[in-house]
């Protein structure tokens, strides 16, 4: 039995070697892609284009502009002379925000009872940067307010500690986006790789006609499944290690928990995804169909990983549904082990969930695929 499985494994690897784009994609492609994507997306939102229409042209207004630039959110502000330029830039989507400083800004700031106003225009067509811009302007306004209040109330600045809330970020002291985004992106690529390759396992042989020959050989269906799965798992786990190494060294993502535990659970997760892929593989008649199904299934999973939006905010039904998604648990586990150093004592609900799902999906897949092959 081992020998027969082995012969299949060898055959699958030879396929991969002749069609070398596949493993290249899985191993190097995944890592390179992750590097690029992580590089592009792991920065906080900065450098947003900003326009300033300064009617005041005073020391106060210049200080305000410098203050805006110092928030780090904006690129050096572009000074313009009339409102029309701002309108057109907003329509063209050239800027995310614009600030209009009224002519009396300076006077109002200096006057003991003055109420300076500031007009902010945000481009709502890109809500994420717009929100970020709003946040930055709000922060700056708060600072200025405090300063003026202190001044006007005649408080002594050395006694005053400020009203800012101090912030501590645990597990991610520098609030690096990379720690958050890269594990999720890794998860996405890993999932697609496994699903895609598992989905091709049988759909490819069926489309090319070799499946029939495989089925008359003295393989049991179990042996075929195992033989087809081993190469996928080997490559996927290698891919995982490579990608993990990459985000660890290039993006300083720590591995605070047990590496061993992480690998064991990664393997478990891969097996679950593999099971799903194999089901897709036997229900698809062509590789094209298999691919489209992978897209659907993969994206559904990805939505529930909490990458772009926290699952807690979803409607109750979807939150409940998220618990049925292996990727949801896996990503939680991976983040916790990497960033929090959590162990089994903490992770057990998710590990159990993953195991249970794995068992259900795996058993179903095995029975389904075997039936389809027999």
């Amino acid at each position: 039995m081992i020998r027969r499985i082995w012969s299949l494994v060898i055959k699958e690897f030879i396929h991969l070697r002749t069609d070398w784009w596949l493993p290249a994609f899985m191993l190097l492609g995944g890592v390179t892609e992750l590097l690029l994507v992580a590089w592009a997306t792991s920065r906080p939102i900065t450098n947003l284009p900003l326009m300033v229409l300064d009617y005041s042209k005073s020391a106060q207004s210049r200080a305000l502009i410098v203050g805006l630039e110092n928030t780090g959110t904006f690129r050096a502000a572009e000074a313009v002379d009339d409102m029309h330029e701002i309108t057109s830039a907003l329509e063209k989507g050239k800027i995310n925000a614009a600030v209009i400083i009224p002519p009396d800004f300076d006077d109002m700031m200096v006057a003991s009872n003055g109420q300076p106003t500031l007009q902010i225009l945000l481009n709502g067509a890109e809500s994420t940067p717009a929100l970020e811009a709003l946040r930055a302007v709000d922060g700056l306004a708060r600072d200025i307010n405090q300063r003026i209040i202190i001044q006007r109330l005649g408080l002594r600045s050395d006694e005053f500690a400020g009203f800012d809330v101090s912030l501590r970020v645990w597990f991610n002291e520098n609030l690096s986006e990379a720690l958050y985004t890269t594990p999720a992106e890794l998860g996405l690529m890993l999932e697609f790789t496994v699903l895609l390759f598992a989905a091709l396992a049988f759909s490819r042989e069926r489309e090319l006609g070799t499946l029939e020959q495989l089925l008359v050989m003295p393989f049991s269906s179990l042996e075929i499944i195992i033989g087809k799965s081993i190469p996928v798992v080997i490559i996927a786990i290698t891919d995982f290690v490579l990608m993990l190494g990459m985000i660890h060294f290039a993006f300083d993502v720590p591995i605070r928990g047990s590496f061993f535990l992480l690998m064991v659970l990664a393997l478990a997760y891969l097996l679950v995804e593999l099971s799903k892929g194999l089901v897709i593989s036997v229900i698809s008649r062509t590789q094209h169909q298999a691919f489209l199904l992978v897209m659907l299934v993969g994206m559904v999973d990805f939505m529930f990983t909490g990458y772009a939006a926290p699952v807690e905010g979803m409607p109750q039904a979807l939150q409940w549904f998220a618990n049925l998604i292996p990727a949801h648990h896996w990503l939680y586990i991976m983040r916790s082990i990497l960033l929090k150093g959590s162990g089994l004592n903490v992770l057990y609900p998710h590990v159990l969930a993953l195991a249970a799902l794995g068992l259900i999906i795996g058993t179903f897949s095995l029975r389904f695929v075997r039936r389809a092959l027999d």
Partner: protein, 332 residues
């Protein structure tokens, strides 16, 4: 132990929707026999083979291979049979050697034995210098030979061959049939550990071969034949039996100066009712005319041909070829 044929099909039927691909066919194949299964494209041959192999569930009826029920004991049967499918039994992106290795290992051949068998297969297929060629780069004939080599690597007791010689050159086809004869006439040796007891218990018989082919000259060398058409067996028996029973007349072989012209002339005469012939066939550079008691018409044929300026050449009554019989059967 009760006597068991190597393959036994009872009332085998398969329907696809309204279409009955295989319609209550019955046959058996004895151990050590070459059984030719002939029929036009789309007559149900491949469907039958798939059912015999357990790749497809029969709609009705049952199949036994080596005394075992195919549906129940698939896993016991598989190691003991070999199958070469019509077109796709090899992996195109694997090399010759890799394909053979895969087959051998899949059937559990031990290393030294595997190497020996692979060497034999390569020799038989004439691919010794091409071990490392990718299969997709082989010519059609070579691919077929390699596929056959792979199918017999594990010395199966029953061999299912679906058009094994399609596209193979005559020289290799003969080599292939020599090999088949050798396999059939050499008693099976329990080389592998599995099933050794059983093989020893069986008499000294060789491999059983179930083969489909479109080369009727090849089919002539089968021990027994069945003709299938529209899913039904319309004739079966040894080639001689079939020829004598199913032939609608005698065959006169003519070697005229212009064979194609001769066929035209004779056909028009046949259509005009001047010549009561059953069949006029162009056979390479020869013409076969078929009718009961053909010698009666020899004179008339000569005259008709000469009138059209065609030299009739030598005319001899020959034993009908299987191809003549096949075509006659299919047309009736």
């Amino acid at each position: 132990m009760d006597y068991q044929p190597a393959i036994l099909a009872k009332d085998l039927t398969k329907r696809f929707g309204d279409f009955t691909a295989v319609d209550h066919i019955n046959f058996n194949v004895q151990h050590g026999e070459i059984f030719g299964f002939l029929g036009p494209n789309g007559s149900g041959k491949t469907t039958t083979i798939r059912m015999l192999l357990g790749l497809m569930k029969p709609g009705e009826g049952s199949v036994e291979v080596l005394g075992l029920k195919v549906e129940k004991d698939t896993s016991k049967i598989r190691p003991r049979v070999g199958y070469m499918s019509q077109r796709f039994s090899l992996y195109n992106d694997l090399t010759v050697l890799q394909n053979l290795n895969f087959y051998g290992q899949a059937y559990g051949l031990e290393n030294s034995l595997l190497q020996k068998r692979i060497a034999e297969a390569l020799h038989m297929a004439g691919l010794e210098r091409h071990e490392n060629t990718q299969t997709r780069d082989l010519s059609g004939g070579w691919r077929q030979r390699l596929a056959l080599g792979a199918a017999i690597l594990h010395r199966p007791e029953v061999l299912f061959l679906d058009e094994p010689t399609a596209g193979v050159d005559p020289l290799s086809r003969r080599a292939f049939w020599d090999l088949l004869y050798k396999l059939v006439s050499t008693p099976l040796q329990p080389e592998t550990n599995q099933a050794s007891l059983e093989s020893e218990m069986r008499e000294q018989r060789g491999v059983t071969v179930f083969i489909t082919t479109h080369y009727m000259d090849e089919a002539e060398h089968s021990h027994r034949l069945a003709f299938i058409q529209h899913g039904k067996i319309i004739a079966s028996g040894s080639p001689i039996e079939i020829k004598t029973q199913k032939m609608p007349g005698d065959v006169l072989e003519i070697s005229p100066s212009d064979a194609a012209g001769a066929v035209k002339v004779l056909r028009s005469a046949q259509n005009d009712g001047k010549l009561p012939l059953n069949e006029i066939v162009l056979y390479g550079s020869l013409v076969h005319v078929i009718a009961p008691d053909i010698l009666r018409h020899e004179q008339a044929i000569t005259v008709i041909l000469q009138n059209s300026g065609i030299q009739p050449g030598v005319m001899t009554v020959i034993e009908p070829s299987l191809e003549d019989v096949f075509i006659a059967c299919m047309k009736s």
